[in-house]
Symmetry: C2
Subunit: 160 residues, 2 copies
DNA sequence: GTATCGTGGACAATAGTTATCCACGTTATA
DNA sequence: TATAACGTGGATAACTATTGTCCACGATAC
């Protein structure tokens, strides 16, 4: 199994949008261009993020996307869940429970373990936020690159 | 993303094989029947388990499969890895690193976090063994069901 | 009114997973 | 020695999920 590439792209999209001044907005096509993603499909991902209340969308000319909440409030897990959905990594087929004659009892040989493993995975993703990653970027990126990106965004963004 | 059903089936296959007396062997077709899996595909899974040194196979008439190591030594994670392979859940595309001008430096915005999350997930799977699940089964299953299964296996198994 | 943007649905292409088949090597047994 | 039962590995097909495209539509700025 592999995480959808859409999760990575979405997290990066959120990070890009942290560069955006208040009341500014970025068109979906510009974002997908920066990430090298297919524009039409990436719009679908953006819509998922809107549905998950992570992004705000402004329709019409001069429209685009902006973060709905502050970067400190958006956990990496929120983005993950918005794209991947809420289904868990493992779902018991029930075959073995049948074989063992423990269908309706609350004994979950594997399920418990798998659920716990997934919890561990998720809790790591819940610990970090878009902001904590953004701070790392500010610390580690070459400043000239950072200002170049900043000015590119301010050039392409749309104020309301 | 979803875990392959083959992982679940393989773990159950390992559990079934713990019922097997020493020097006994179970044909792949019998195992797949018990698990309600497709016989031909399940053979492929069994071969992966053999390759991973979790199972021993005996060719020829009176052939079949048996555990290679003792159940205490086989971690749930080993089975998981044998079926899913060693690739990690997340692989950085590198697009964002390019965008940020940090291609070859050891800064891994997301990669670190994702690697840590996967570590947590895996460590839970490494904690439990086939034997620890087997013990739970012995504790929780109706004894009559257990003996019925035991005798079914002894009937179908092949001694060498 | 027109150009630009997001929205949602239908649909196609691609990739990954599951399933089937067959020719082959090995071994037990008649 | 022949034959039947089993695992092996490759080729290939069916199925499913993911990714990608297209279009008609509504909203908004100008």
């Amino acid at each position: 199994m592999q995480m959808k590439t859409g999760v990575e792209q979405s997290i990066y999209a959120m990070l890009l949008l942290t560069f955006l001044p208040d009341k500014g907005v970025l068109p979906g096509e510009f974002i997908s261009q920066q990430l090298g993603a297919s524009p039409t499909y990436f719009q679908k991902l953006l819509r998922k993020l809107v549905h998950a209340d992570l992004l705000m969308s402004v329709p019409g000319a001069k429209g685009g996307f902006r973060l709905k909440a502050s970067p400190e409030q958006i956990r990496v897990f929120d983005v993950y869940e918005a794209i991947e959905g809420k289904q868990s990594l493992y779902a018991s087929s029930g075959v073995f429970e049948d074989l063992m004659g423990i269908q309706n009892q609350n004994i979950c040989l594997l399920s418990d373990l798998m659920a716990e493993a997934e919890q561990s995975w998720q809790s790591t993703l819940k610990r970090e936020t878009i902001d904590s990653i953004r701070r790392e970027i500010y610390l580690n990126c070459p400043p000239d690159h950072l200002t170049k990106l900043q000015s590119l965004i301010e050039e392409k963004m749309i104020r309301n």
